[in-house]
C-alpha cells in the first residue's frame, strides 16, 4: 500500500511493550511517531494486536488450563463465565464435582510458599483401574501463598468418582521438600 520503506523497523519486542503499556514516556512518543511513518512497523504491530486479541478471546472462552490467578478468575466472572472454586488448606479433604452450568473449575492450594524458588505439584488419581500420577512443574504462586490450578469444566465432566491426592513440592538446588498435601474427593454431578 505504501511505497515508503522503513530502514530500521521497530522490533517485535518494542511493539509488544508498546501494546502492553510498558514503554517509558519518551520512547512511547518516538515509537508512535515511527508508527505513523513506517508501514512495515504498522504491519508488525497489527500482528501483535491480532495475537493479543486472540489471547483475549481465548481467555473469554474459558479454555485456559494450568496455573491461574485471582485476577483471571475475577475477569472470567465479569465475562459471565461460571467459575467453580475449591479452596484447600494443607491436609484438608474437599468433596468436589462439576455442575452442568460450570464453565471453569479451579482448585486453590494454600501454603507458605514465600521462600520456595520453584514449586511443583504431584497429582495422584486413585482410579478403579489403577493409579495415574502427573507432575506439574514450576507453577506460578500468587502472593507467595496460593497455587491455583484451573481447568475447563468440559475436561473434568467425564471423570469417574475417585480421590485425587495433591502434593505441593518446593524444589531447591539442594533438593526437594514436600510442603503440603491435599485431597479432593471427586464425584460426577448428580441431580
Amino acid at each position: 500500500m505504501n511505497a515508503h520503506v522503513c530502514q530500521t523497523p521497530l522490533e517485535w519486542t518494542t511493539l509488544v511493550d508498546y501494546w502492553s503499556g510498558d514503554l517509558a514516556e519518551g520512547l512511547l512518543a518516538r515509537t508512535e511517531e515511527q508508527l505513523f511513518t513506517c508501514a512495515a512497523c504498522g504491519q508488525t504491530l497489527e500482528a501483535v494486536i491480532g495475537l493479543s486479541q486472540g489471547i483475549a478471546l481465548w481467555g473469554r472462552q474459558g479454555r485456559a488450563s494450568g496455573s491461574s490467578s485471582e485476577a483471571v478468575l475475577e475477569r472470567l466472572a465479569r465475562d459471565n463465565l461460571q467459575v467453580r472454586r475449591y479452596h484447600l488448606e494443607p491436609g484438608q479433604t474437599v468433596h468436589c464435582t462439576v455442575a452442568p452450568e460450570d464453565d471453569v473449575v479451579t482448585a486453590e492450594f494454600s501454603a507458605d510458599l514465600s521462600r520456595a524458588s520453584r514449586v511443583d505439584v504431584v497429582v495422584r488419581h486413585n482410579l478403579d483401574d489403577g493409579v495415574r500420577r502427573n507432575r506439574l512443574e514450576d507453577l506460578s504462586v500468587e502472593h507467595g501463598r496460593t497455587v491455583r490450578w484451573t481447568l475447563p469444566a468440559a475436561a473434568l465432566r467425564p471423570l469417574p468418582a475417585h480421590r485425587l491426592d495433591v502434593t505441593l513440592i518446593a524444589v531447591e538446588p539442594s533438593g526437594e521438600q514436600v510442603v503440603a498435601e491435599y485431597h479432593l474427593q471427586h464425584s460426577p454431578w448428580r441431580q
Binding site: A3, R30, L51
Partner: protein, 191 residues
C-alpha cells in the same frame, strides 16, 4: 533505531497532502485516508482499548486532517504524519474524557468497556489454543494476565513475585513463540 526510522519521510503522504490543499481532490483525499486510517485505528486501539471508539477516532481525525488541508491549515506537508499523530493525540484525549462519562454510565447499567472482540488481524482460534497449550505454564499465565485481564506488568510482578523485567522477558518470549507457532502449524483440516 527509532530515531533513524523516524527520519524516513513518507513521501507519498506528503505529496498527497500537497495535492489536497485547495480542495476538490476526492481521489487524493481518499488515498490519504486509506494511508492513515489503519495507523490512526491502531493508535486508537492502544489508547482507547475499544474497537468502536477506535473507529470513531479514525473518522474524527481524518475529518479534521482533510478539512485542515483543504483550508491550507497544515504548514508543512512533509510532516503530515506528525500532524495526523498530533490530531490523534488531541482527539483521543478528548474521547477519553468523554469515555470517562461513558464508563460511569456503563457501570450504572452493569456493563463494561472491553477491547474490540473483532481481532484486527483474525487468527485461527484452534491453532492459537494449541500454541498456547504448548507454552510453559508460567508463560501462558503471564500472557493471559497481560492480554486477557489487561493487567499491567507491575501488577503481574506483584502477584507472582517476579521482577518487572522478568515479567517482560517472559512476555516477549511467549509472544514470539506464539507468533512462530502460528506461522509454523499446518492448516487445520476441515471436518
Amino acid at each position: 533505531m527509532v530515531q533513524a526510522g523516524r527520519e524516513q519521510g513518507d513521501r507519498e503522504a506528503a505529496a498527497l497532502a500537497r495535492e489536497v490543499i485547495g480542495g476538490n481532490r476526492p481521489a487524493e483525499e481518499a488515498r490519504l485516508c486509506e494511508l492513515f486510517g489503519p495507523r490512526v485505528r491502531r493508535y486508537g486501539l492502544r489508547h482507547l482499548r475499544d474497537g468502536a471508539l477506535a473507529d470513531d477516532l479514525v473518522q474524527q481525525v481524518l475529518l479534521v486532517t482533510i478539512e485542515k488541508l483543504r483550508a491550507g491549515g497544515v504548514r508543512d506537508c512533509d510532516q503530515i504524519a506528525s500532524f495526523v499523530l498530533g490530531v490523534s493525540r488531541t482527539v483521543a484525549r478528548d474521547m477519553r474524557r468523554a469515555g470517562w462519562k461513558r464508563d460511569q454510565m456503563a457501570e450504572a447499567w452493569g456493563r463494561e468497556q472491553t477491547l474490540s472482540a473483532t481481532p484486527s488481524e483474525p487468527i485461527d482460534g484452534e491453532r492459537l489454543h494449541d500454541c498456547l497449550s504448548a507454552l510453559p505454564d508460567r508463560d501462558r499465565l503471564i500472557v493471559t494476565l497481560a492480554f486477557y485481564v489487561e493487567a499491567s506488568t507491575a501488577e503481574t510482578s506483584r502477584r507472582l513475585g517476579l521482577s518487572g523485567a522478568n515479567v517482560r522477558v517472559i512476555k516477549h518470549r511467549a509472544m514470539r513463540r506464539l507468533r512462530d507457532c502460528l506461522q509454523r502449524l499446518p492448516p487445520v483440516a476441515a471436518s
